[in-house]
């Protein structure tokens, strides 16, 4: 019994604290599993933070594309830092790659620089890089892994943003003046450098390239030339050919054919109001995108000098929304063919033009109207912004050197206190560059991730 009791005592003594040991082991296991879970969670959280920073950095940089890849890169780095990831700090390394896929110029469409990280200069000759990729890597330690002396963990993520139109549906209408004034300085085939209609066509085509360059996007473009009337409905050879109008489409070839068919010719006057009706018809037409978030833009190239010609009067004449109340055959007390005087009928047309433009700019279209003034009379006061009082002057008796520019500045959708939707070009050779700026401004509204 003693023996037995002694064995029992020894057994009890040896089992003392067994539960304690077991519990300590269990707790240690809990602790380790918990530590690993928390560290993994923190790694994943860090990765999400990196992804967010990369997203916002690439979007911030893309705003500068395709005009300025170097600034785009700097902006991306700046915004990555704002979101907590500064290049070279706390184990953060940022890699930026420029991608060109819109085929604006040489090299041909394709990726031009995805193999050369941190070398935006490789894309500078290709002022047309429309995408950038931002990759952020961070080497960091996490609470428990560092406590246990585990090696630092590399966490990384990347994002790309581009001037493509894959996310926001966009309908843009290009309105091109092909009246006689666009023939000034042109050879017989209107193909010489500096010829206004030639430069306009080049500019319009490059605009189409930017807007539709990325296939599979949600962008559509329409095109309408304009003079003083359209044939049909008016049977007159001086009217702009209605067959040249291209409804909203993604078909670059059709648009190219339409734009290239423009042929500057006078005779029917200039009705700046009429093409706005064409834009309205397209936005209401079967090809228009009906999504609530559709971005609508109208780009019009004009000298702003409305004239109402006999050729545009009579059968098939412009509808009342874009027609003066009196016939051009009636005398006008303030007549004149140059830009120094605004006729009564011209003032009426100016008012009509403003009204139709306001319809486009208002709900439900909410279109952004970009105006490119070419050959506008008089000199431009860059500090004259489209204030309410200034725009209320449309249709008054001011001469053309004031009235034309007033109309153009006021029909543009400029932000109050700016002329950010109004561009003036003194020389036709500048038209392509200015239309590029317009393209980028439109594209800026549709940055995609």
């Amino acid at each position: 019994m003693l023996m037995s009791g002694g064995q029992g005592l020894r057994g009890a003594a040896s089992e003392d604290g067994q539960m304690f040991i077991i519990m300590v082991l269990v707790m240690t296991a809990f602790f380790l599993v918990g530590a690993i879970a928390i560290d993994l969670g923190m790694v994943l959280a860090e990765r999400r933070g990196i992804q967010r920073a990369a997203d916002f950095a690439s979007l911030a940089g893309s705003i500068e594309l395709p005009a300025d890849p170097a600034t785009a890169r700097n902006r991306a780095l700046e915004w990555a830092a704002k979101n907590g990831y500064e290049d070279g700090v706390d184990g953060v390394e940022i890699e930026i790659r420029m991608l060109c896929s819109n085929g604006l110029s040489d090299p041909p469409p394709g990726i031009c620089d995805n193999a050369t990280p941190n070398q935006p200069s490789a894309c500078v000759p290709e002022v047309g890089c429309d995408s950038m990729r931002v990759i952020i890597n961070k080497t960091g330690t996490f609470p428990f892994s560092s406590f246990f002396g585990v090696f630092p963990v590399l966490v990384g993520s990347g994002a790309a943003a581009s001037l493509s139109f894959d996310v926001i549906p966009m309908d843009t209408v290009i309105l091109l003046d092909d009246t006689g004034s666009m023939d000034a300085g042109c050879n017989s085939s209107q193909s010489n450098s500096g010829c206004p209609i030639r430069e306009s066509k080049i500019a319009a085509l490059s605009l189409v390239d930017v807007l539709l360059g990325n296939s599979g996007g949600s962008s559509q473009v329409g095109y309408a030339p304009y003079r003083g009337c359209y044939n049909p409905p008016r049977s007159h050879s001086d009217c702009a050919r209605a067959s040249s109008i291209i409804d909203l489409t993604q078909n670059v070839s059709r648009l190219g054919a339409g734009i290239n068919s423009a042929n500057a010719a006078g005779g029917s006057g200039t009705n700046v109001c009429l093409p706005f009706l064409q834009a309205l018809a397209m936005f209401n037409g079967p090809n228009a995108q009906g999504d609530e978030g559709t971005v609508r833009s109208v780009v019009i190239l004009t000298d702003g000098d409305n004239t109402y010609s006999n050729v545009s009067f009579g059968q098939g004449q412009p509808p009342t929304a874009c027609r003066p109340t009196t016939s051009p055959q009636n005398s006008d007390s303030n007549t004149g063919s140059d830009c120094s005087s605004a006729q009564t009928r011209e003032r009426q047309l100016d008012t009509r033009t403003r009204d139709v433009a306001n319809v486009l700019k208002g709900a439900p279209y909410n279109a952004d109207v970009y105006v490119v003034g070419f050959g506008v009379c008089g000199s431009n006061n860059a500090n004259q912004f489209p204030t309410t009082s200034y725009c209320n002057g449309i249709g008054n008796t001011n001469n053309d050197n004031t009235a034309d520019r007033r109309l153009l500045k006021c029909i543009a959708s400029s932000t109050p206190g700016t002329n950010d939707h109004y561009f003036e070009v003194p020389n036709a050779t500048q038209l392509p560059a200015v239309l590029q700026v317009v393209a980028w401004k439109i594209a800026e509204r549709s940055l995609s991730e």
Binding site: A12, D16, M19, A37, G41, L44, I63, T415
Partner: protein, 150 residues
């Protein structure tokens, strides 16, 4: 035999005592781990909601809309008052809220640990909590008409 039985009962009692002492500590640790995991989950939720709100801000949404996007994204973890939206001038024209300027969206949220108030207050401590104030900076892709400066 009697002795042996009494020893066995004593061991059982000791084991029970050890268990009784260690179990609450183990459970407490488990709860702390669970709380930390939930805190990480909350942070992830906040980050996702913040991202959606910041993107909306970049695309021109109003302050109210941005706050609604963030609160919806976080499934009502907090109300709109916890969301701040402000703008800063990047182009240097003195007017924040223009295209290309910056917007900051931030959330103020405090995660209170599940390890209850009663337990911690018994030791004279408040409820353990973790303050989270994530913020996101975006570049505006639209003009904002009403843009309070940061």
């Amino acid at each position: 035999m009697q002795d042996w039985t009494s020893h066995s009962a004593a061991e059982g009692g000791q084991s029970l005592l050890e268990f009784a002492v260690l179990m609450p500590i183990t459970l407490l640790m488990l709860l702390v781990v669970l709380d930390l995991a939930m805190a990480v989950d909350r942070k992830t939720t906040l980050d996702d909601a913040l991202r959606e709100g910041a993107r909306a801000a970049a695309l021109g949404a109003s302050e109210t809309t941005v706050a609604a996007v963030v609160t919806n994204g976080a499934s009502g973890l907090f109300d709109a008052g916890a969301v701040s939206v402000c703008y800063y001038d990047v182009d240097g024209n003195g007017s924040p809220g223009d295209f290309g300027d910056g917007a900051m969206v931030s959330i103020e949220y405090t995660y209170k640990f599940l390890v209850g108030e009663e337990l911690t207050e018994a030791f004279g401590l408040g409820t353990p909590e973790m303050s989270m104030t994530p913020e996101a900076h975006v570049r505006l892709e639209q003009n904002i008409s009403v843009a309070p400066e940061c």
